[in-house]
């Protein structure tokens, strides 16, 4: 398999190099380097958004979720993703309208402008950094450990991490957002093909879906309902996850940028619908993989299970493709997140464009290096921040949505309450603040407090001055 993996890697890298050369920018400006020219069509927009959204978690985490906790994982991710698509369509156009009027460079800058205070920008940027860097680090670490397990005599774990981050930084620095998006398209297609081949093989093992669920029922019937064998899938868990995922297009800078730079409203609408369909089609085979693991590897560790379903139980060619698909999934999300952090920083800088771009490019390398270091020196706190990253960034959702949707002059209430909510959330995850208050999980309490703050901002704090946008 090593030889087939090397061949597949060479082909993949060859295509990446071709795309990098095509998208190489001599003269880098905010518009062409950070915003991809601001005129992305529906097809590229769909693939890049899907590739950014569906990370290594989709290939590794979701099958394991289905295997361990059961069919409720569909509600957790697929249903939440389609709810997100609806929200994207309803609010995305308003975001684009506001972004174009206010010379959008990043969500942090947009928040500083709409709230007329740098604090809002710093909260948006700080929240993104605190939760995205660990998420990127854990992805890189996970993939590197997996590659090391697949090829134990090749190179050490840190060397795999270095190669992955190195590839990301080279094409990001050279071609900017457009390079990332073209690579996302390649990676998205690869992920889709790979996951369906493997998912199909899993169904084929059972001879059909009905037979698959019959076998699962014999092994562990609790997997076929909620809350699942470990009691994870409660209504509160689903609500918190849904809020986190629905707010992704506005709270995760790599996705909000893609919403803004779609070339037309028509392209945005088609992209959003396509994303809903793709979400269903990508998560379905992960369910097949999970049920396969539930029957054949019920007591295996995650690594053992994924090793079998992606590699050892597949033909060597499919296994090599699976590995490349896994790497592609991790890279397509991580590079977008690292680059987006750079864009967010740029949006807060009041310098001439050339200088701002130079600083941004330096910081893209810095963020990449930080992710690399943390992937090698992974700690329990980092993993915790990564696992809670979607919920953490969702805490910024109310502030961002008020900033986008409101036409009135806004006070500092939302940025301050959001900052406090983020701090309390992190402390609750570290065990310094209770994770449950009475019957409610702390996240639900914090979301409720943020909702109350929104009510105060929009209804109670009246302003005679209406903003003229």
């Amino acid at each position: 398999m090593l030889i087939k993996f090397i061949i597949a890697s060479v082909v993949y890298l060859g295509i990446l190099i071709f795309l990098v050369r095509r998208t190489r920018l001599k003269e880098k400006t905010t518009s062409n380097y950070l915003l991809g020219g601001g005129n992305i069509g529906f097809v590229i927009g769909l693939f890049t958004t899907a590739a950014t959204l569906f990370s290594a978690f989709t290939v590794v985490g979701m099958p394991d979720f289905f295997r361990t906790h059961g069919v409720g994982a569909w509600i957790f991710l697929a249903v939440s993703d389609t709810m997100m698509v609806y929200a994207l369509l309803r609010v995305g156009e308003i975001l684009r309208r506001k972004a174009r009027k206010l010379d959008f460079k990043g969500m942090s800058g947009l928040m500083a402008t709409t709230y007329e205070t740098k604090l809002a920008g710093y909260v948006a940027f700080g929240g993104a950094v605190i939760f995205l860097i660990p998420y990127i680090a854990v992805q890189i670490s996970g993939i590197s450990i997996f590659l090391n397990a697949a090829f134990p005599d090749a190179i050490p774990v840190w060397a795999w991490s270095l190669i992955i981050v190195g590839i990301m930084i080279v094409y990001s620095e050279t071609g900017g957002l457009r390079a990332i998006m073209y690579n996302d398209t390649l990676q998205g297609i690869l992920l889709f093909v790979t996951i369906w081949i493997i998912g199909w093989n899993c169904i084929d093992h059972f001879g059909g879906i009905t037979s698959m669920f019959e076998k699962v029922a014999l092994v562990k019937e609790e997997l076929l309902s909620v809350p699942g064998p470990n009691g994870l899938f409660t209504a509160q868990f689903f609500i918190i996850s849904a809020i986190a995922i629905i707010s992704l297009p506005f709270t995760q800078p790599q996705i909000s940028t893609r919403v803004v730079i779609m070339k037309s409203s028509k392209a945005l609408r088609k992209m959003a619908i396509g994303l809903g369909v793709v979400a269903i089609l990508v998560i379905l085979p992960t369910m097949f993989m999970g049920m396969y693991g539930a029957v054949l590897y019920p007591d295996a560790t995650t690594q053992e299970f994924i090793g079998h379903v992606l590699l050892y139980d597949q033909a060597s060619g499919v296994a090599a493709l699976g590995l490349i698909g896994l790497i592609a999934a991790a890279i397509s999300t991580s590079d977008s997140q690292i680059f987006a952090l750079g864009s967010e920083l740029r949006s807060l800088l009041n310098l001439d464009d050339k200088k701002a771009i130079s600083i941004t490019r330096i910081f893209i390398m810095v963020f990449g290096l930080l992710a690399l270091i943390f992937s090698i020196v992974s700690t329990e706190h980092l993993v915790l921040l990564a696992r809670t990253s979607f919920t953490g960034t969702a805490m910024m959702g109310p502030m961002i949505l008020v900033g986008i949707l409101s036409r009135k002059k806004l006070s500092k209430l939302m940025p301050i309450v959001t900052l406090l909510a983020l701090v309390v959330f992190i402390l609750s995850k570290m065990g310094m603040v209770p994770s449950q208050i009475w019957l409610l999980q702390t996240e639900i309490v914090l979301f409720s407090v943020l909702a109350l703050a929104v009510f105060f901002e929009l209804v109670v704090i009246r302003s005679t001055k209406v903003k003229s946008d």
């Binding site: 698509v85 369509l89 156009e93 309902s225």
Partner: protein
């Protein structure tokens, strides 16, 4: 025409909110209940699949209604 569009959007928003609420109720996620099956698929799985399709369909109707709406282009 604009009023009709606004009304239709409100109807779709109401349907989306109702579906959102129903998703977290025993209608979609009944505890420890696997029946009735549909083509061998347990209840929560096929109901969950249906809910995800409903949201995509609602989103599609929003996109049709918004087609001629003032846009940012």
């Amino acid at each position: 025409m604009k009023m009709k569009r606004t009304t239709l959007l409100r109807v779709l928003d109401c349907l989306a909110i109702l579906t959102f609420i129903a998703t977290f109720s025993p209608l979609v996620i009944p505890e420890n209940e696997i029946r009735p099956f549909l083509m061998g698929i347990p209840y929560t799985m096929w109901m969950g699949f249906l809910v995800s399709v409903i949201f995509v369909v609602l989103a599609y109707f929003v996109s049709i209604i918004n087609k001629e709406e003032r846009n940012a282009d």
